[in-house]
Structures are given as structure tokens and as C-alpha cells.
Symmetry: C2
Subunit: 324 residues, 2 copies
Amino acid sequence: MNDNKTEIIRILKAAGNKAVSGQEIGAKLGITRAMVWKYVRDIRKEGYDIQSSPKIGYTLISSPDMLYPEQIKIGLETSLFGREIVYYDEIESTNSIAKDIANRYPEGTMVIAETQKKGRGRLGSEWQSTPGGIWFSLILKPSIPLEYAPRITLVAGLAVAKSLRRFGVDARIKWPNDVLINGKKVCGILTEVDAEVEKVDYLVLGIGINANVRMKDFREDVKESSTSLEAELGKPVNRIELIKDLLYELEQQYIKFKTQQFSNIVSEWISLSDTIGKEVTVTTPVKIIEGKAVGVTDKGALLVKTRNNTREEIIAGRCRYAKT
Amino acid sequence: MNDNKTEIIRILKAAGNKAVSGQEIGAKLGITRAMVWKYVRDIRKEGYDIQSSPKIGYTLISSPDMLYPEQIKIGLETSLFGREIVYYDEIESTNSIAKDIANRYPEGTMVIAETQKKGRGRLGSEWQSTPGGIWFSLILKPSIPLEYAPRITLVAGLAVAKSLRRFGVDARIKWPNDVLINGKKVCGILTEVDAEVEKVDYLVLGIGINANVRMKDFREDVKESSTSLEAELGKPVNRIELIKDLLYELEQQYIKFKTQQFSNIVSEWISLSDTIGKEVTVTTPVKIIEGKAVGVTDKGALLVKTRNNTREEIIAGRCRYAKT
């Protein structure tokens, strides 16, 4: 959407239920009243309900329930995250697009889609991107050694949990970065890395949130273990407000990650942990560890006390809880 | 090059300086003598000198000094590395091509070029790909966690050093993976990674060897610190034989990496180390460490004893020797 259209929406939003005249809008943008009218007509086509009264002006009645960049950008409090947004109605996978464009787009660029046809989960699994959810990827370019890359997953999980809690749910983090409500998954994160062994070139952080997904729309095999914000709260959330809050929290935690001791993030992560104290099975490409999750180290590794009383530190892996 | 042409070269090579009749070659390949003649004509165009005597047959006098896949494949003793070869006369960068094709080509695929227009060194530096050198990339798909990726650089450095030594030079390894002869760089390695944080999708191992590079062809700024095999040996090496030997050694070390304790590779690496005992400055994206290199850990990290007597373990970084 071009800047004039974004600006018109911003002006009408700021005016609330008061009308703004075409002349006033035109004067602010340096365009004629006739041009304002043409833009308003285009904006309506995107689902905005705009009332126009002769001699009085335009009033924004309602905005469409879409994740349009101009909606996200109005009132966004970040300086980097989501300042550049690549929007798709439907796309194969936001992570795939983000990887394709990462070299030529700035850090903090967000790729967002209403639906994904081939949403990807961790380790090659399929991620169901049901309508009503929030599916996006962020391009990050931290100057860190490769071995620090897994830490980003903890940073992201913490930011999502903190943001969701502000919307009224008891979100907790399953190591390393699934976000659960009452033990059921509401958010998954897929972090992909492109790097030299000495230095990360870029990270792509894929975040999928079952925001207003209907329970009946979950695939049979994940239905029992999944939930949505709408289901937990009994009403839909404002997705745009959630995205803005989440981008802000992600940026805050990312700055903390880059400027402070990682142990500061870990200690906050631990306070929202769903995993510590549980019996777990953790699978990595080289081994499977079974035991009790007893903590997370300063470096973000999960500490597991195995049955024969050894303590294993696991930097990254897939974690399953033992059935109780 | 198609299989029949490769096969004809193979037959002529096997016959040494004895002639092989067109009829005999045709019978082996199931084609007519006229077709054999057409293939021989094409093969000659690629720089092979093939003598043909009426009634006697064809004799291979000499092969061109090119890195053609069919030359590399004849007598290659690997089962995976270099079994698939993508060849370019000139290319921007073999690593870039390897990354582009990694998802659809099998593990062990080699991308090789006579020259690179934009050869890439570590951390964004330019790598000079002077004619006479060997510039290639290998696609690897080990099932390892991301934190093991830096180990591949030690594996590659060790394999290169071992292979070069068999060609008569005292090759030693500067941590993590530069290969030196008499303190001068003869080989550089650039490892790039594409991964989820839990698992490596693929690694691209870029290897550049100053094989028959003339000293006068080195760029001024690297001339003093570089050398070539030709300069050290006083005569050119057979690049095809070197590549075949190196692919074999790389595969051997890679199998060891995947099936044995990493400490086995480290101990052999240490025996060829040029770095241990030297005063070094190591730069990582998060810090600079100065001190004496005193060892390499079982996990491949460089151990540096700093001036205030602390010991730092560095998993990956750029290492410079102090001027003496």
C-alpha cells in the first residue's frame, strides 16, 4: 500500500469517530480533494468501512481483520522490528521467503502472511497455518558466533510468553521455545541460520501463533495438544494489537540479548518455564537423553538429570514430556 | 561430458601408450566405429591429444591440464565425495553455487571451477583464485547439531594437510583450518552452514589450494604470506592426482568424524599443528583474545593462556600470530 493510503488511514484512525474533510486530508498530504477521494475508494476495496458525508468528510467505521502492514505500523513502538514489512495474502512459507530476501533486506524485516500453504515446523515437520492465526518471520543479523545461535530461540520464546501474558493468558515456555497455555501449544518457533562457522550471517525467526484459530480447525493429530488464544479467552484477540505488542517485546529482548549477560535472559526464562521439574525425553541428532529437567544453564542449555544420576547439558534438541 | 566420451578416455588411459582400435572401443560401448570417430573428434576439441593410425587405432598422447570431471572420476577411490561433479570453466564463486544447489544435490557433490571471478574468503574477504590453483566446494549433509559445525573445519584442515604432505611438502595447520608450508599459506577453507538451531541442513566446504599458482600472480597484499605447491616443490603438481587424493582423504576423515570420538581427529590435528606454542590474537564476533596457544580441547576449541593467566576456550574465530 502506498504511503498516501497509509497516511489517510492513520489520519482517520486518529480522528476516531469524528469526520475529517477531504480538504483537510488533502492539505496534510499535499494532494487535491479529488485525489483523496480516489485513495479512499481504493482503501475501501481492501475491506475498510469508510463513511463519507458531503460537506462533512470521511469517518472510519471499521478496519478489516487483516494483517496489512499499514495497520501494524500505526502506533508500532519499535525502532527496528517490523519497520519493513513484506505482506502476502497467501504464501508457501514465510521462513522460506525471509531466507530468500535476507541478504538484501535490513535487519528487523518482517515477512507476514494471512495463510501459509506449506508452513514449516521444526525438523521438517509440517506446521498447520489455519486461518485466524498469526504467521510471520523476522530477519535478524546479529554479530554473534555460530555457537550462540541457539540462544535466540530462548529469547524468542521468552518474548512471546511475556507478550501473550499481557493479553490475559498464563503462557509458559516449554524448552527450548514452544509456548504453552495450560499445557497445550499456542505458539511454535522455527529458527533457521545461515552462517560461516565463525559468524552468523543472518537468522530467520519464524513465529506461528494460534491466535483466533478455531479448535475445530486443528488437524486431528494435533488437536488434543493444541490451543488458541480465542479458545482460552473465550473471545478473539485483536491480532494487530498482539503483533505490535509482540514486535515490541521481541525487540526489547533482542536488545537485551545483544547488550547484557545472557544469564539475565535465562533467569527470566526460568521464571516462565513449563519444563523444569518435568520428566523429559530430549532428542538431538547425536543422542537421546531421558531424565528429569532440573534447570537451564547460564548459556541456555537444558540440564537433565538422568536415571543413572549423570547430568547432561543439552544446547538444542527436541523435548518431549513423559506421559503422566 | 557424456558417458561414452568419458568411457573412451578411460579406455585409452588404461591402454597407456598402446593403441586401441575403433572396433574394439565400439564393441565395448555398443556403438559403431563411425560413432567412436565422432566422439574422438569431440574429445580432441577439449584439449586431449589423441593420435589415430589407420588399421591400428587410437592412442592418448596427452590430456589437457584442466579439471574436467571425467579426469577426476577416473581412478577416484571415494564412495561419496566427488561422485557427482558440477564443473565450470569460470564462475563467480563455487561456494555460492554449492549453496544454491545443496538442497537438490546429493551429499558429496563437488562444485569445481578453473577460475572464480568472486572467490570468497572468510568473513567477507576476497579470495584470489589465480589460474593454476584448485578451487572447489563440497556439499555435506551430516546429521549433527549446529554446535558441532565448527568441527568440520578442523576435519577439512587435517585432510588437506595430510594429502599435501603425500605430495612432498611439510604442510601444517594454522588453527582452525589454514594450511601452511614454511609459515606461508597454501590453502584456505571457508565453511558455510545452513541449519535449524537443532540440526544442520547442509554444510558447504569451500577449499582453495594454491597448487600451480605462480608467485608473481599473487596479489601484492598477500604475496609475502602466501605460497604455492609449485613454488615449494620447484615443479608443478598434477592437479588431477592431487584432487583425487584429497577427495579420498576428506572422505576418510569425514567418516571418522561421523563414527568416532572427535578427540581422535583432534589428536591427529595436534600432531600437524602450526599454532600450538605460538603467541596469538584470536578475534571472534564478541571478543578479542590475546595470549599463547597452549592446546586444542577434545571438542576442537583452541586453548589460549592469556597474559593474566586465565585460560580461554575458543570454538571458532580468526587467528593471527604475533609478529616476532
